[in-house]
């Protein structure tokens, strides 16, 4: 039990951080209405993955993977450079995503006057309902204008009178 706290927790400290950040980010994206906050949550979420990658490549006590002159350089223990290179790319991707997302938020604010997702969706639903009502009305009008339009629920059967009446 103590080994868990003395070995596992500190040993996997990075990964605990990764999970914590990931959950924080994810929660922010899910729970917050504000589009900017959502984007920030997304950033936190991505950052956790960056840390995941970098943690993979580290070796305890190793130096940065920079070529050094002299004998020290030949025997230096250095961290695995590949994950860091990879994550550099991923960071670029993340930055572009954030930039694009912010640009979109600016345009959404111009178009809707709000950056709360609920408000924007409500505005969309209002438009959609109005359009839907108009379309339904037009469908009805189009049907009524057609030749031989049957009245009421017509099922193709002849309705006969009751002979006993």
């Amino acid at each position: 039990m103590t080994a868990f706290f003395t070995e596992t927790v500190p040993g996997l400290f990075n990964y605990w951080v990764v999970i914590a950040l990931m959950m924080i980010g994810f929660y922010t994206v899910i729970a917050h209405d504000n589009l900017v906050k959502k984007l920030i949550g997304l950033n936190v979420f991505q950052t956790s993955v960056f840390i995941l990658y970098i943690s993979m490549g580290t070796i305890r006590g190793a130096t940065a993977p920079i070529l050094m002159d002299g004998p020290a350089g030949d025997h230096a223990v250095y961290a695995h450079p590949l994950p860091q290179v990879l994550i550099l790319t991923a960071i670029v991707v993340g930055v572009s995503t954030t930039a694009l997302g912010l640009a979109l938020i600016v345009r959404i604010h111009e178009a809707y006057g709000s950056i709360e997702e609920d408000d924007v969706l409500a505005a969309d639903f209002a438009t959609q309902d109005a359009e839907q009502a108009e379309e339904d009305e037009r469908s009805r009008a189009a049907k009524a204008a057609e030749p031989h339009a049957p009245s009421g629920g017509d099922d193709g059967a002849e309705h006969e009178d009751d002979p006993r009446r």
Partner: protein, 498 residues
């Protein structure tokens, strides 16, 4: 010299659009930008054809980028499987380039047109990159390139609702991309390699670890998001509805297909079918989800009043067909999946183009506004009818080939319930296609609308639409080349080799 040039084709198909993109931005004027776009896409298409022919005759091509030998450097691999997808993506881009000019000119201000062309090139480069790369991390990068450009493209749509659709797609897409990144990272952690072929040889040793299982889960969910597989499809209908017409036509025909390609690649090549389907119950989950997708999305399509939205929902349903095929984990199923990837690309491309051509005239895509267009736009309407028939899967169209192949595979695997669901879904397709066709031909034109809008769409748009329709019919009539190619690809994948 020429041979050397030809041997560079695998990288050129990615690099040419990437490098043309800044040129397009520099060209700035709409016509010049379009001319560059046209030239670039056709050049890429020609190269894709050459690569396809070469793969068909000489087998897979491996290309080490920058001369760095795999597994250390990035490797591009073109085998019988992705050659087909490559041809689809490049071909759709080429045909779309004919279509795009007139269509975009109606929907986007002239001073921003060059940006659209540049973004379309970026998207193309990304999609082709996903297709040809043999490196798992590289795939993520290309996925993000294509996604970022498509978010921007969708936001260019004429209605303000395009903005929120694009933003939602951005959130979902980024989460999907990041899941993929996590999955690839976990696999890398266990094996120390990112090269797909190399991963395939090293992963079996660590199959029992949770890391490996989690890697597969993250990758499948991430790519399901991109492929709009139920229930991760919710972003798709809005994105397709509000994007500019030619963008929708291109993205709908290629983007989700490429994501499914990537999914198949990871499941079959990297992890191996026996691991994903026998040790883990991935196929049952996928079969169940795709069955729901087929029925639920088809039902949703029936109730749409907007043709683009209707087609978008139908796309979600059709993704169900595709996933069902490869979830059968048989050669026939995988082959059917591939056939439908190509055919559905052609069908949806053609249908969205036809709708775009109608929207070019009427400026809306609501079914009521398209009523009676059969008389004023006979060629475009006829194209929609043929495309619709292909979507239903009527004989002598490409859709029939897919349906036949898929049903054969399902029945051979003994999944009678799934077969019944596929049949029900295709009946639902009859209804939603019939709804549009009936409006086009048998309802009178709206009196006020017919005053100012009469006549056909521009010739270029019609040519592009009919080119795809002709391909649909050609495949429907003479399917053996396609079936040979996909059958070969499926054999190669199931056989374990790339």
């Amino acid at each position: 010299m020429i041979a050397h040039f030809v041997s560079q084709f695998p990288i050129l198909v990615v690099v040419v659009p990437l490098l043309t993109m800044p040129l397009v931005v520099l060209a700035h004027r709409a016509f010049a930008a379009w001319a560059l776009y046209l030239a670039c896409t056709w050049a890429v298409f020609a190269m894709a054809c050459a690569l396809f022919a070469r793969v068909a005759t000489h087998g897979p091509i491996d290309y080490a980028v920058g001369g760095w030998a795999p597994p250390f450097g990035i490797e591009l691999v073109i085998d019988s499987f992705n050659a087909v997808v490559l041809l689809l993506v490049a071909g759709m881009a080429a045909i779309n380039s004919i279509y795009a000019r007139a269509s975009l000119a109606r929907e986007i201000e002239p001073e921003r047109l060059y940006l659209v062309y540049a973004l379309m090139l970026a998207c193309l480069a990304g999609l082709i990159g996903i297709t040809v790369t043999g490196d798992a991390f590289n795939l993520f990068v290309f996925l993000e390139i294509s996604s970022l450009s498509s978010y921007a493209l969708i936001a260019m749509g004429p209605k303000r609702r395009a903005l929120l659709s694009s933003f939602q797609y951005l959130i979902m897409g980024t989460v999907g991309g990041t899941f993929l990144l996590i999955g690839v990272g976990l696999a890398y952690m266990m094996t120390g390699t990112l090269n797909m072929a190399d991963l395939a040889t090293r992963l079996p040793a660590v199959f029992d670890t949770r890391t490996c299982q989690a890697a597969l889960a993250f990758i499948v969910v991430g790519l399901s998001l991109k492929a709009a597989l139920f229930p991760a499809h919710i972003w798709l209908p809005n994105a397709y509805t509000y994007a500019p017409s030619s963008v929708t036509a291109f993205i709908a025909a290629t983007s989700t297909k490429v994501a499914v390609y990537a999914l198949i690649r990871f499941v079959f090549t990297v992890f191996g079918a026996s691991y994903a389907f026998e040790q883990l119950p991935l196929n049952q989950v996928l079969l169940g989800l795709s069955a729901i997708a087929m029925i639920a999305a088809s039902l949703a399509a029936i109730f749409q009043t907007d043709v683009k939205r209707l087609l978008a929902w139908s796309s979600v349903a059709q993704m169900g067909y595709i996933v069902t095929g490869f979830a059968l984990a048989s050669t026939a199923g995988l082959s059917a999946s591939l056939v439908h990837i190509v055919n559905h690309g052609l069908i949806k491309g053609a249908l969205f183009m036809a709708v775009g051509a109608m929207a070019w005239r009427t400026r809306t895509t609501s079914i009521n506004d398209l009523a009676g267009l059969g008389r004023t736009m006979p060629f475009t309407s006829a194209a929609f009818v043929v495309g619709g028939l292909s979507l239903i899967g009527v004989p002598a169209t490409a859709g029939f080939i897919s349906k036949w192949a898929l049903l054969s595979a399902i029945l051979a695997a003994g999944h009678y319930l799934i077969a019944a669901l596929v049949l029900i879904a295709s009946l639902l397709a009859v209804i939603y296609v019939g709804k549009v066709v009936e409006a086009l031909y048998f309802r009178p034109r709206d009196a006020e609308a017919s005053n100012h809008d009469a006549g056909e769409a521009p010739l270029a748009m019609q040519i592009a639409t009919w080119a795809l329709i002709a391909l649909n019919v050609a495949i429907g009539l003479h399917a053996s080349p396609e079936l040979t190619a996909t059958g070969r690809a499926a054999h190669a994948l199931i056989g374990g080799g790339a």
